[in-house]
Symmetry: C2
Subunit: 510 residues, 2 copies
């Protein structure tokens, strides 16, 4: 029998069923929860709250909350609350099918925000008061401090600002997580801010648990439930080609003396392409790499095991069920290699700039001049959100954006005349990679970028049409700095909406 | 007779005419010059170089350089070199009519960059080698170090990296500038960067002159010529209304406890509207304000005199001739109040975030969802560049963008369905101000932002048309998160290109 996870006697007395805790949340309140990329989110109270909201709605009563988290969560949180139309406003990130559907039918208000901005905007009062915080924990210590589970996200800020706190202690999460966290308590509001004393990605600058005023804890709920832990797809040929181009480029930069032999701290988005990049790095010959990133996924655990990666700093995990099982087995090893920080620190402009992170993220589309759309399908439909990609693209050493050159069976080109929404401007984009090749946009003017992107990244099915648009824009555009033909600039997207295919060949002139 | 400005004997021996110095610059070279917003740029060597290029071109010889500066310069530099088609590539900012014409006819390649990125990208090798640096100085000290004049910009980096250095010592610049500069020598390349020890906008953290290896100085040129010093327009009614809305908002934020009584360090763009805001602050009752900004213009000098502004940190000046004359007379006072820094420091993400700067900048247009175009007329024609607006909009406490609600005699609306180019995304924009009113976009979803912008900022001539677009987009858009009708999204711009008027009423359906 393991030691009780709740080591503070007073708080042991506040253990209640999830429904009792959920009853402490009221219509119209702003509720801030833990959770980042499907890890470390509360599992029980949100579902109990959803049940309560469903009952209220059935009785004709209005009941919605404003919901803040670290980043995306899971069906038990975003899904459950979205399904019962219980969310009036959601921020700063989501990836849930039920929430997404409501965002895009216009019934769920969503604020897509840079993840490094959220904690300070809450402190600045830009989101109003925070009524209740709900955070998942591995344990509550004797002194009432809270050991977070598999993510930290914004939990420090939520506990600091919320009037009331509900803690879910999840026995499923390994007790060995304790000691892996690093919670920095040196932040302040301007004009009282001081330099953050972090100089290397593996520096520890804080405490291993979250402080909280025990009097604010109104309920403790026991749970035993897994994180989201979705499987990754096996590495496919396209992802492998993208990874190959990228790793060849990194080697080239080391050869040219523009990067150290062990590179600079890596930030990696989550998904199958980043996982392929990590798999490629495992075989690349690179050693002693570091990661200063948001999320650790399967591939990064492998790199830590093999020593290719010396350490990894993050604010959450995205593991497959198999990787999670192995992670639990080897947690004493990983606790020496991994540091879990608040997302204010993992994504902090000061630190991303100082460390010189290499940002590697996916994209929806890029245009001829290097502007990136990370979020909106056909300019209006939200996919997930910008997440931390902007924190790293803007303030890091260089920004790399990756995607297959086409989507939806070739009916969509990832390189378009003009992106239908901009998340990263031409000023913030260094490198584009598709399975076709890599475009190095550094030190290039807009028109030089267009040539690179057409020649190296576009799919052959779209190359002639891009070239044709570009040549006609060069001839007929109002200004020739960023040549565009406005009536055509977004016509590829409209063609897809009208016909299901961006390819001009599939739509001969009539 | 004043003391000689060249106090190093060896360098006194290297004084040559401008033409002799210009002869040291060769075709195809990368030449990095001082200069920021029409202050502190070399005046004589660029003109001599332009004359030399003209002769070469007349003889049928190719002669162009790649030209880097701090920011914009003046007719003697950008203008002279552009007129003779002497610039192959220009970065990171310009505002010169002759350069702009060539950028927009497609013959001058231009890279528009965040001003905080330039020095580090040069160090990273993204722009290739720097062959020659040409910097203006107030004096050369006994030890060969160089006292910059009215701007610092990227001069530190240029002197560090260039193979050869040409110094222009300008007797027109007041000797009393010596001691006003603060050149920080603690920067490094990652992974060797450390925290920048600046905690208050008036902290001095560096040296008062630029270090340079005297052996690299191949020529010294004496000049006696004024900075650009363009007059500001008198404050007009529109600018005064914009300033009034903004100052009312700042008071409101202080009342709500979201800003300290003396606000937070102000960053202000350059131009007539910012000057009106500064004039408004003079009468506002605010005291002990600080500025952590790029450029000090007339209005800020007045605020320093009156004590409304306690101190100002910048990297250059933009003064009217009258303000410049007064500045020279009172330079001993201003040397205690003003700190001139490198633009790497004045715009540094670490410092802008730590200090919590309030960014106040102009814009070309904003769309319904809060995306900002700062640079491109009708999506393709470059006006000036993004400058430092992004450094402050992204990393500061809040970002404020200001513009009259219409331009060109009412034929252009500054609020449009979709901006034709994006420099600042929806994620980076807090407040929009026109003479019509102020829209506070903080904590709002895209559709909520649209309502605010239509109701509070749009000109009455365009309000119905914006409302009509928004309502139809709400009904018919593919996704309802950021509703758009792609065939119409850029039609206002095309209508202006076709008819000279964006107003639908001026273009009745035919």
């Amino acid at each position: 029998m393991s030691e009780d996870r709740i080591r503070n006697a007073a708080l042991r007395d506040r253990v209640v069923p999830a429904a009792t805790a959920a009853a402490l949340i009221h219509p119209g309140q702003t509720v801030a929860m833990s959770g980042f990329t499907g890890s470390g989110y509360p599992k029980s109270v949100p579902q109990a709250l959803a049940a309560r909201i469903e009952v209220a709605h059935a009785a004709g009563e209005a009941f919605q909350i404003r919901l803040l988290t670290g980043a995306s969560t899971a069906p038990e949180l975003d899904g459950a609350l979205a399904k019962v139309d219980g969310i009036a406003l959601r921020l700063p990130f989501q990836s849930d099918p039920d929430a997404r559907r409501r965002i895009n039918d216009g019934t769920l208000a969503y604020i897509d925000a840079h993840l490094s901005h959220v904690a300070q905007h809450a402190w600045f009062g830009f989101y109003g008061d925070i009524d209740v915080a709900v955070v998942e924990a591995v344990a509550i210590r004797e002194d009432g401090s809270i050991v977070p589970s598999t993510s930290v996200g914004n939990s420090k800020t939520w506990l600091d600002l919320a009037k009331h706190v509900i803690v879910e202690v999840n026995d499923w999460q390994p007790a060995g997580l304790e000691g892996m966290h690093d919670i920095y308590y040196g932040t302040a509001l301007p004009p009282h801010r001081r330099p953050i004393p972090l100089e290397h990605p593996d520096d520890r600058i804080g405490e291993t648990a979250l402080r909280v005023d025990p009097d604010k804890i109104v309920a403790v709920v026991r749970t035993r439930a897994p994180d989201r832990n979705s499987p990754f797809s096996p590495v496919d040929a396209t992802s492998e080609q993208i990874a190959g181009h990228l790793i060849e480029f990194l080697r080239h930069e080391v050869d040219k003396g523009r990067l150290p032999a062990n590179l600079l701290p890596l930030q990696s988005g989550v998904g199958n392409i980043p996982n392929a990049v990590l798999a490629g790095l495992a075989k690349s010959g690179f050693r002693d790499l570091t990661a200063f990133t948001e999320v650790i996924q399967d591939g990064m655990l492998d790199l830590l095991r093999s020593g290719v990666l010396a350490s990894a700093s993050c604010t959450g995990f995205a593991m497959s069920p198999e990787a999670n099982a192995a992670f639990k087995d080897e947690i004493d090893f990983f606790r020496r290699k991994i540091i879990l920080r608040t997302q204010e620190i993992s994504n902090h402009p000061e630190l991303v700039r100082r460390l010189g992170c290499i940002g590697m993220n996916g994209m929806v589309e890029v245009d001829l001049y290097g502007n990136i759309n990370s979020t909106h399908i056909m300019g209006s439909r939200m996919q997930n959100g910008i997440g931390g990609s902007g924190d790293f693209a803007r303030n890091g050493f260089m920004s790399i954006f990756m995607s297959p050159s086409t989507a939806k069976n070739g009916t969509i080109s990832s390189i378009v005349p003009m992106v239908s929404h901009v998340d990263h401007t031409e000023h913030d984009v260094s490198i584009i990679v598709t399975e076709q090749g890599l475009a190095d946009l550094r030190g290039l003017s807009p028109k030089q970028r267009a040539r690179q992107l057409i020649d190296r990244c576009a799919h052959p099915d779209y190359r002639d049409a891009l070239e044709d648009y570009f040549e006609r824009a060069l001839r007929d555009s109002y200004g020739k700095h960023t040549p565009h033909l406005l009536p055509e600039a977004l016509s590829w997207h409209q063609r897809w909406l009208d016909t299901g295919d961006m390819r001009p060949a599939a739509n001969p002139p009539t």
